[in-house]
Amino acid sequence: MSEAVQPLTTIGHVTPRVDAIARVTGQAKYTNDIKLPGMLYARVLRSPHPHARILRIDTSEASRVPGVQAVITHETAHVVWGAGAVAGGRQYNDAIKKTTLQRRYIFNNPVRCVGDTVAAVAATDRHSAEQALALIRVDYELLPFVLEPEAALATDAPRIWPEGNLCLDVGNSAAPVVSEHGDIAAGFAAADQVFAQRYDTGFVHNAQLEPRCALAHWQGQTLTLYTPSQGIANCRHDMARDLGLEDHQVRVVCHYMGGGFGNKNQNQDADLIAATLSRHTNAPVMLEYTRRDDWLGMHGRWPTVQQYKVGVTNDGTVTAIQLIGYSGMGPYRKNAGGISGLELYACPNRYRSLTPVYTNRTTSGNFRAPSEPHGVYGIESMMDDIAYKLGMDPVAFTLKNMLRPTEEQPFTNYSLDACIAMGVDQFDWQARRKVIPGSDAGPLKRGAGFSFMMFRAALGMSSAIVQVDARQRYTLFVGVTDVGPGAKTTMGMIAAEALGVPLSHVAVVSGDTDRCPYSVGESGSRTTIMTGMAVVEAVQDLQQQIAAHGMPTGNDVLVASATPAPTTDGKMRQCFAAHFVEAEVDTRLGTTRITKYVAIHESGRIINPQTARDQIRGAVLQGIGQALHEDLLYDPASGQPLTTGYYRARHLTHLDVLTIEVHFLEVDDGYGPFGAKTIGESGIILAPAAVANAIFNATGKRMTSLPITRDKILGAMG
């Protein structure tokens, strides 16, 4: 049963990060700040062609550049990057890596997109490495290429893989991923009206400020890898698998990292290339990606095409939802390619067909809530449109149709009605919404949009170790890295609360697989709830030891560990949110300005109110960027990417943002550490949908393509 939160001592209070001073004085050591004696610098050569077979590579001249220690290519380095072609890491499935037909190597031939890796050089300094890259001579046989998912499925389309362009599934068969609930035909038969619309969404690069780098250092048969990671244990496991080692032969270290938003979950090819060069040179190797390398060699959110068909009765009850979706995965299927959103509706008749497709664009992969923001944009644009066509308020339409707990599917608690009610009030929805969309008389038109969601907060396995010495100093060992949300601080706060001591009495050791136990990784918004539960249970064990033996004396230390795998007793555990946006569109220029943004979230108990608020504010602003600006455009004639950088992809700057209003409804559902749920990804999910709906309400024009750039608005205004 859910209940109001009871005040706690440490948790729930604004708490500066435990490493705050290092972050503002330049003392925080990121991967690229580390120097080892004799360290070499490495650079990667990338394909300038969207699809080509390498006929010959001549590295002889490059090898003669003074300072060059090694040049490696597909002819000399044959490492399979397991996480590069089917989502890797312990949390996924190692068996797939062994059986997949479509392996991705650290250097591939043929190269399948502009930016595919061709060669790497290690030299005594980075300029010599760059000069050597320019002297590698490559003969390419140019192959035809295809950029768009639907075109790639045509029978005469250029084949990116011998098996065709429909991505193979884990069983190596090529078929759309179909999920079906109820009876879709009966659902459409029961409808008074059926609406259909196609939506599409662009590629959004994760674009973390820290470019990819990796420092690899072999000592005998043991590899130490310093790398920016969102999961040091998963990265270690991936490295061991790809290099044919045992997990314990690899040490992964990451104390600070400059963002990732999902593109640093597993090991990356940079890690494997650095390790290979280090092996070849018998020296530590620092591989640095340039910004363009990062843009083309990492990944971003997959572009999608979403064809919806929705049946409703005249009273506004949804009777059937069908989605035929396509996701452009680039030439390698690094992640699933999901399009979520249908499951937000109670409608029993749902059909979804998802087709992940290979294209000769750069690789797609996980970006903060990998399947949600684009899918929620599609489905909630669709539903918003239907509400207005039926003459209904979209909020009333949602309250009529959104998923609620049932006897068959109970929730640990349910807050969507409360979130929506609070948002309607805080935002003044009735006053800001135009009952007739586009009804402002002048060229500046304002309107209001709304979207809602729930997002997984299920529990799972992770580990923690806590110890106390005779001076009553507590040390917490957790294999987390702080990717921005403040995991070190959050873990320390949970331990301090559970121990009943101030946070200053708890030292947190993290970011090193040789010193810390397994942690689930900073992906899927799981660290706080999963590793946090392990901290709680390890502390309980320690307290039992103290009760049995007393506090340690002399040189004694009490140590406790826990690896719980808690469940939610068959109940769905979700966090909830509703976002309300006011947008002003200048119909002469096509520009959109967000003038008010209210985000209501129920994420259980809030551990640290300040960092929690800023997770939502930052995620919302990322979502606004996705809604209005960001895309990786390609020249269709040449297959060349055109917007590989912050300037051209038009990322939000200080001048583009407004203050995001965030409200948390705090609830303790009795699960998770002190009732905490997920936060990190949830904030980005609703912005594209809410912004698009606000633009519709302002202009009366339904924008069916993300990002909603000026040209699209001007085109719609006619």
Binding site: P16, R17, A20, I21, R23, V24, T25, G26, Q27, Y30, N32, L55, R64, V65, P66, H127, Q131, A132, L133, A134, L135, R137, D139, Y140, E141, L142, P144, F145, V146, L147, A151, A154, Q208, L209, E210, M257, G258, G259, F261, T290, R291, G484, D614, R617, G618, A619, V620, L621, Q622, G625, P636, A637, G645, H651, L652, T653, H654, L655, V657, T659
Partner: protein, 200 residues
């Protein structure tokens, strides 16, 4: 659909059965002279500069940027390289009091300059009011853009002691934050101004 080989002869475009087109890829603008240059030692220049109040007399390669000099030679790694091409502002330092992108200044251009980096903001272990405000307002998320934000904001506060939010946004427009923690950064700078502006 325009799925054509980039450089094929026109009659063969789009035909996978066409005779392979072959080209030799060379680096952008690489001339025989440049190839020869790669084989010879880079030229070096001796410069003097002051960094965080400490004077340095160093010999730099002419191709080094200021951020390379700071990070690689002087071990001041607080200054970050985010894009290395004047887009993101992670490498911002103060050069004779003005914020500059250290990725886009050659080290030799810093001859005679007075440079301040993030490591120079605290004095005798005491944080500047701006640094403290960054902590109090949770301005760093991942923290990678933080040194650059701090340096541009320091320059702003030196000239506008009590900026309002709009002035801060205007001044910091060249410092990107992909965590998009812009609200907290602006709140921190405004708060620091209020605190130290009273004395100004």
């Amino acid at each position: 659909m325009c799925d054509k080989p980039v450089a094929s002869s026109s009659s063969k475009e789009g035909n996978p059965q066409a005779k392979p087109h072959r080209e030799v890829l060379e680096g952008p603008g690489l001339t025989p002279d440049a190839a020869a240059a790669a084989m010879t030692a880079p030229s070096r220049t001796a410069i003097r500069l002051t960094v965080n109040g400490v004077s340095h007399h160093v010999e730099v390669e002419d191709r080094w940027t200021l951020v390379e000099l700071l990070r690689d030679q002087l071990d001041l790694t607080g200054t970050k390289i985010g894009c290395d091409r004047s887009e993101c502002g992670s490498c911002t330092v103060l050069m004779d009091g003005q914020p500059v992108y250290a990725c886009s200044q050659l080290a030799v251009w810093a001859d005679g300059a007075d440079v301040q980096t993030v490591e120079g903001l605290a004095h005798n272990g005491r944080l500047s009011p701006l640094q403290q405000a960054f902590i109090d307002h949770n301005a760093p998320q991942c923290g990678f853009c933080t040194p650059g934000q701090l340096m541009t904001a320091t320059a702003l506060l030196n000239t506008v002691p009590r900026p309002d939010a709009a002035q801060v946004q205007q001044a910091l427009v060249g410092n990107l934050c992909r965590c998009s923690n812009y609200n907290a950064i602006v709140e921190a700078v405004v708060a620091a101004g209020v605190q130290q502006g009273g004395a100004a």
